[in-house]
């Protein structure tokens, strides 16, 4: 399957919708990182998908860095959290197959015999307005100002991967 064969060990996936204001934060941050790393080390992708549709974007890479918006209501907008997806507790049951829980999607992929990443890091940005149509310049100030921190975190993760290899 040609789509699952990748040269770069690391994939950066920016998720979201770039015309729904803050929901585009993952996409914008990923786009800013295009060309920031050697192509034989890092592939940058953007997508508006979740769960099972992430499977073939992840397969074939060793480390995946996912950048996405989050809505917890527990953090001020613009807060950047780094979550090791491998440490997310597995769900006790699956309620929604389309939005398959990320670790479940990973396990599912592995069960099917795909070469899934050994490590998945999620960089999540707390957002404020993700339901109004608008572009990058119309993002909430706090979310737009969080992008450099996201990029810094990505660079740290890439660097630590290189030093471990």
């Amino acid at each position: 399957m040609p789509v699952f064969e990748h040269k770069a060990p690391i994939v950066i996936i920016g998720l979201g919708n770039d015309i729904l204001r803050d929901d585009g934060v993952g996409i914008y941050a990923a786009r800013d990182l295009e060309g920031a790393f050697p192509t034989d080390l890092v592939t940058v992708k953007t997508a508006a998908v979740a769960g099972i549709d992430l499977l073939h974007l992840l397969a074939g890479h060793r480390l995946a860095i996912i950048i996405d918006a989050m809505v917890t209501g527990k953090h001020p907008p613009g807060t950047v959290l780094r979550i090791n997806a491998n440490e997310l507790p597995p769900p006790t049951e699956f309620v929604q197959s389309h939005n398959l829980h990320l670790p479940t999607a990973m396990e599912f992929g592995a069960q099917l015999g795909f070469d899934m990443p050994q490590r998945v890091e999620v960089i999540a940005v707390e957002v404020k307005d993700y339901q109004t149509f608008g572009e990058r310049e119309e993002m909430s100030d706090a979310v737009r100002e969080a992008i450099p921190e996201v990029e810094k975190t990505v660079r740290e993760i890439v660097k630590s991967y290189q030093s471990e290899e």
């Binding site: 015309i19 508006a48 979740a50 049951e93 699956f94 929604q96 099917l112």
Partner: protein
């Protein structure tokens, strides 16, 4: 009056809620699909150059991006009054068949199919793609994922990227195919056709081979006589990408057939104060409320509606299966709501046959795929069949091609009245006074809308991607009586 809310609904693309209203006797009075509608998209577009629309509209949602991309490109062709070259049309159709193949397969294996393959009253924990794969085997799971990625790869070859592609432009398409790409397309098309045949076999073995399921499909609560709409070619065969829009009545007789730019003569939209969603209806029949039958302007779109509105399929294997379906269901039109699932796998087979035909077309590698528009832009309508039904894009521009007015009638909205009615019918069949409302009961109700594969996606998604389901039963004053929750 009691109110039952299912919020949010599992396995619905996007977010939504079902409200079921009980009368004082504890019986189902009515049921409605309540959707937080997209806000202001049309306004967001006004003032932009029209040629941006095929790139912007796919971002309305991550589920039907290709359908919006093509309807938008077709509307742009009309705005510039340009006829695209035959090769441009073939390339667009090739991409479109790839999109149909992967989208319909996703629905069968992950969204709608689990109800049948695993069972309608199976625990929610098993009623999903993992449950399906447990039942049909891990190897099949691999094939499902592989062919979904093939569908996306076909769209990617055409559009430059798997999601939100940019292949179609006013006057044709932006690039042709290399020899390597054609070889890859041929390989994927052959594989997709084999997989489509396999899926039809699964449908026959597991769904049609189970008498309980067949009885359910044929039973009265799951039947609804409405008008049906779908796009057809010059032979009245189903066509996803281009043609006239044909409507048949509840008896299957042609009611009207119109060109895209005539849509406003045939479709009007009713507004209810309690819903963000409009209710499109047939203008020449009229709005009689959320009721069905020959005197009601309520019509249906999407797979079964397309097959009902046509005289057949343009490819041999799909035609064979089309005939089998109507033989089993007792003739045309079929009013059985659950047969949308059957029509969907037939359409996936047709899409796969189209992929084989188009990727082997001797002209597919040519370079005459675009004409440059030269006329002053004015106004145009583009219509295609999204997987979820007829999709209409209507643009007006000034003489510089800057948008002054945008009207979109999206597929699922046209099934709005029918979905509400189907939910109410299903709810009535399982919710009666004194009977315990459990999860299996709720799933039967959800099956009513899943048949339509509704999509109200707004593109938002939250990690880790879980969507709990909560059912609230309330009395007429809004006091909470009972909560059932899926964690």
């Amino acid at each position: 009056m009691k109110k039952i809310s299912i919020d949010p609904i599992t396995r619905l693309e996007g977010h939504g809620r079902i409200d079921i209203f009980l009368n004082d006797a504890g019986e189902v009075e009515n049921a409605y699909m309540v959707i937080p509608e997209l806000r202001g998209f049309e306004k967001f577009c006004v003032g932009r150059p029209v040629e941006e629309m095929p790139r912007i509209t796919p971002r309305i949602c991550g589920v039907c991006p290709v359908a919006h991309h093509m309807a938008s490109a077709k509307a742009c062709d009309a705005v510039y009054n340009v006829e695209i070259p035959p090769l441009g049309k073939k390339l667009r159709e090739l991409c479109y068949a790839g999109y149909y193949f992967e989208d319909h397969n996703l629905h069968f294996y992950a969204l709608g199919g689990p109800d049948f393959v695993v069972g309608p009253t199976a625990p929610a924990a098993e009623r999903n793609i993992l449950g399906v794969i447990n039942k049909v085997g891990l190897d099949i799971g691999k094939e499902v994922i592989k062919h979904r990625s093939y569908g996306q790869r076909i769209v990617e070859i055409f559009g430059g990227k798997p999601i939100h592609g940019v292949g179609a432009i006013p006057g044709g398409v932006s690039k042709g195919l290399s020899k390597e790409e054609i070889d890859e397309l041929k390989m994927m098309a052959d594989s997709c056709l084999e997989f489509a045949k396999f899926t039809i076999k699964i449908f026959h073995d597991i769904v049609l081979g189970n008498k309980d399921y067949v009885d359910m499909i044929l039973s009265d609560p799951w039947k609804m006589d409405t008008y049906y709409m779908g796009m057809v070619d010059e032979n009245n065969h189903v066509n996803f990408y281009d043609g006239d829009v044909r409507v048949v009545d509840t008896k299957g007789k042609e009611f009207c057939k119109f060109k895209p730019h005539e849509y406003l003569d045939h479709i009007a939209e009713h507004v209810e104060p309690w819903s963000y969603l409009k209710f499109p209806y047939l203008k020449k029949v009229g709005w009689k409320g959320i009721v069905t039958g020959q005197d009601s302007g309520v019509y249906r779109v999407a797979p079964l509606a397309r097959l009902n509105a046509s005289d057949g399929m343009a490819t041999p294997l799909a035609q064979e299966e089309y005939e089998k379906m109507y033989e089993t269901l007792g003739g045309k039109p079929a009013h059985n709501t659950l047969a949308f699932h059957w029509a969907r796998v037939i359409e996936a087979l047709y899409a796969a046959e189209m992929l084989v035909e188009l990727s082997n077309d001797p002209d597919i590698g040519g370079d005459d795929y675009r004409v440059i528009p030269t006329e002053t832009p004015t106004e145009g309508v583009g219509i295609d069949e999204a997987c979820r039904g007829t999709l209409i894009h209507h643009y007006k521009t000034d003489e510089n091609g800057i948008l002054t007015d945008v009207n979109l009638i999206v597929a699922t909205v046209q099934n709005n009245a029918a979905i509400c009615k189907s939910i109410a019918d299903a709810a009535r069949s399982v919710i009666t006074k004194g009977k315990k409302i459990d999860e299996g009961t709720l799933n039967i109700v959800e099956m009513a809308f899943r048949a339509y594969d509704p999509c109200y996606a707004c593109g938002t998604h939250a990690l880790p991607g879980e969507m709990p389901l909560t059912l609230n039963i309330k009395d007429k004053d809004g006091n909470l009586l009972q909560t059932i929750s899926r964690k």
